[in-house]
């Protein structure tokens, strides 16, 4: 903002009063007006409220949580007001606020819908935190950063300036680090790992931004359109893509998600890695592939490869987890695969499917994490071995968990099915357009979906359905409080609504406009009709069951969870007799784990051979060892280096232009 910029014009479509709408651009919006501008307010208001939360003394913890919840609710209202203002613009043109060379904000279909979802989730999480975080340490920082995160995320979404985007993006990584760390000393390693992977991708984003800046000679996101013509443009593309994928948690940059999910407070896990980081990562990926860069087939295939790999590898890992939050985190990774796969098809349908899946995933994955948090709050553990039988005492939690689990597994008519359906179709389409690998990707995605269902059978069984574990048997466990079950139930309702009325509600109003292109569903799925049919089918099934009596029965081994009962679940007593049959569900799919090639792969995964963080650590430790050995504390050696350096310098100076880097 040099002198001449200070009187820069503000294109203020957004001003609500009449006079200003007539004038598209006018001079001299003062700083205060800028801060209160309806486009800036979603960023500044939560930040201001966050600072207020930080300043409240410790005695006001209760008031603080109420304040945070109210503030996040107001943020939702602010965003709604902004969206209404934007809807009144002729032709739904993007709304732009160009404060100066630096701070240009833009609201279009894509950002409006992600903005709304983000703030709604912010509100739900603050509501949940009122109960979940009560009585915990460091609430001051927690609420401040929670509100701050909402504001920063709004900044990322609204930014139309790459530099602004980069700043908010980096801040978000920092917020993640702090919020994981709030859980206490056990979470220190997870926090560090998350910031190293996310912050490392931020460094690459910085490189990408600078390359684009120099090549396109502009920082305005909406006006950049680049062909992948040469190496440096590929570098820029990869930088952006890695930043987006690392934030979203796709493989191979996923390994922070499980650690973070397992160690962070459940509300943080539900908000950041499960919801917000997905939203923003996929948002950037869509901007990248549809706006900033002109994709080619190779890049699309690469993206699809990443997506398919993520789906299958992460879901396999999820299958064998023993910790509820960690298991859910692996699913959070796996679901990213679908989104990336959809976006990788490059068709409007695929991108719409990816975006819709992102929305759906945010809903059900947050619901699942919130349920996990409720379970943890009441039982004190998330270890599947030690849980069980909670369906009776926590019915509301169970229902929301059940719906969300069915949704994530893609059971019609819930929302997860619809978005997966769209992605599958997009893949078939891409096959028609000459992508030869589509069949493999499709098979992988479907198989992944089946495995998701399988692992959620395990979760539901182990947490809610089987007998209570010995530890819990004598404890008085009750349903969680209102503020904790309400978000879960609300999200479960959304799962149903977005599934049944998929076209009418989210797709037509939010997602198809965001994609822009005309979206054609080749194999149409009329969700509402299908729901009626499905319900009829279920009813018919019940009827048949009630009317008929089973005449013929076939006797066979007892199977449970795909395992023969006797082999796995019978804990033999000392006299060799079977006693105390307990099916906790954790041992489901043990045979899968022991299958020949998979066993080695799981072993390697446990040894963290696929973890980019540990691999990087090993490589750098190798170089460090070499360099360390050179610094042996011997003065004569150091002096020799100095003299050698001098000789090299003199040689370079006298060689006259032959050395160049």
């Amino acid at each position: 903002m040099r002198g001449n910029d200070r009187v820069a014009t503000h294109n203020c479509h957004s001003r609500s009063n009449r006079e200003s709408r007539k004038v598209a651009a006018f001079d001299g919006l003062s700083n205060m007006e800028l801060l209160l501008n309806s486009m800036v307010l979603p960023v500044t208001f939560p930040l201001a409220a966050g600072i207020l939360c930080l300043l409240l003394p410790k005695a006001f913890d209760r008031a603080r949580s109420v304040l945070a919840t109210v503030a996040s609710a107001i943020t939702v209202l602010i965003v709604c007001r902004l969206l209404l203002e934007w809807k009144q613009l002729p032709g739904n043109a993007p709304m732009i606020l160009s404060g100066s060379a630096w701070g240009s904000l833009r609201l279009d279909h894509l950002s409006s819908f992600i903005l709304l979802v983000t703030t709604v989730f912010g509100f739900l999480i603050s509501l949940y935190s009122m109960g979940y975080m009560r009585g915990k340490e460091r609430l001051r920082e927690y609420y401040a950063w929670l509100l701050g995160t909402i504001g920063i995320a709004c900044g990322v979404i609204l930014a139309n300036n790459l530099l602004l985007l980069l700043i908010f993006w980096g801040l978000l990584g920092f917020a993640l680090y702090v919020m994981i760390g709030i859980a206490g000393p056990e979470a220190a390693e997870a926090a560090k790992k998350s910031l190293i992977i996310v912050g490392g991708s931020d460094c690459l984003l910085m490189l990408g931004v600078t390359i684009v800046w120099v090549l396109a000679d502009t920082l305005t996101l909406s006006s950049i359109r680049m062909d992948l013509a040469d190496g440096i443009r590929y570098v820029a593309f990869f930088c952006f893509a890695i930043a987006a994928l690392a934030k979203a948690g796709a493989m191979p940059f996923h390994s922070w998600v499980p650690d973070c999910g397992a160690q962070a407070p459940a509300s943080v896990a539900a908000f950041l890695p499960a919801a917000l980081d997905k939203l923003l990562g996929i948002y950037l990926l869509v901007r990248l592939t549809t706006g900033m860069f002109v994709m080619n087939t190779a890049m699309n295939t690469l993206l699809m490869l990443v997506g398919a790999g993520t789906i299958i590898c992460a879901v396999m890992m999820a299958l064998v987890q023993h910790d509820l939050k960690r298991l859910l985190s692996y699913h959070a990774v796996s679901q990213v695969g679908y989104m990336v796969l959809g976006i990788g098809t490059g068709t409007a349908l695929g991108i719409a499917g990816g975006l819709f899946h992102m929305l759906n995933n945010t809903i059900y994955k947050s619901a699942l994490f919130l349920c996990a948090g409720s379970v943890e709050k009441k039982t004190g553990t998330t270890d599947l071995d030690n849980l069980g039988g909670l369906a009776k005492v926590m019915p509301l939690t169970f229902v929301s968990c059940l719906v969300a689990a069915l949704a994530i597994s893609g059971i019609p008519p819930l929302n997860g099915f619809y978005s997966k359906w769209m992605i599958y179709q997009a893949m078939v389409d891409s096959g028609r357009n000459g992508n030869c690998l589509w069949l493999i990707f499709l098979a992988t995605a479907m198989f992944g979906s089946a495995l998701t269902l399988a692992s959620f059978v395990k979760v539901l069984h182990a947490v809610f359905l089987c007998k209570r574990s010995a530890e819990l048997r004598h404890r008085d466990i009750r349903e969680v409080g209102f503020s904790m079950w309400l978000p879960g139930i609300g999200l479960a309702c959304l799962c149903v609504i977005f599934g049944v009325f998929a076209y009418q509600l989210p797709l037509a109003t939010m997602i198809f406009p965001a994609v822009g292109g005309v979206v054609q569903l080749s194999g149409a799925w009329y969700a509402s009709v299908a729901t009626v049919l499905l319900l009829a089918a279920y009813a018919l099934g019940v009827l048949v069951y009630l009317l008929s009596t089973v005449r013929k029965a076939r006797s066979c081994n007892t199977y449970i969870g795909g395992e023969i009962m006797e082999e796995v679940f019978h804990h033999k007593g000392t006299d060799g007799k079977v006693e105390n049959v307990e099916v906790t569900g954790v041992d489901f799919y043990k045979t899968v784990e022991d299958l020949s090639p998979l066993r080695e792969i799981f072993g390697a995964a446990r040894a963290k051979l696929f973890d980019i963080y540990d691999l990087g650590g090993k490589v750098s430790a190798y170089f460090w060892e070499i360099l360390r050995a050179a610094h042996g504390g011997l003065l004569p050696m150091y002096l020799t280096w100095v003299l050698a350096g001098l000789l090299v310098l003199l040689w370079m100076l006298f060689s006259g232009g032959r050395v160049a880097i």
Partner: protein, 115 residues
């Protein structure tokens, strides 16, 4: 030719610093380097057959400039000698303290700081 002798002096000093293990010898080698440089500085200002740059009775400034050697390097050398003196005292003091702590003058045995 005389310049070369200065360079030899400096080279001897450098050799001593790099090769000698005794800390006192290293300090002495450093001193030798400094002497070499000082001699070099004086030589730079030398003019063959010139007189000392001191204004004597009956001599104008012009004749002094015409006949004397360059005074500036001499001033520099004086300053440099003082600095070297300070440095030498400090380093010898450190050497004494080192001997008190480590019980040796051998620099290769002073290797607590490494890695």
């Amino acid at each position: 030719m005389v310049y070369a002798l200065c360079l030899v002096l400096i080279a001897i000093g450098l050799y001593g610093v790099v090769v000698k293990k005794n800390v006192v010898k290293i300090v002495i080698s450093l001193a030798i380097i400094e002497y070499g440089i000082n001699v070099l500085l004086v030589l730079i200002g030398y003019r063959s057959g010139g007189c000392a740059p001191i204004l004597q009775q009956g001599m104008t400034a012009a004749t002094l400039v015409a006949n004397s050697v360059d005074p500036l390097p001499q001033a520099l050398v004086l300053t440099a000698i003082m600095i070297n003196l300070g440095m030498l005292i400090l380093m010898v003091a450190i050497c004494i303290r080192l001997y008190e702590r480590y019980g040796t003058f051998d620099i290769t045995e002073m290797r607590r700081l490494k890695g």
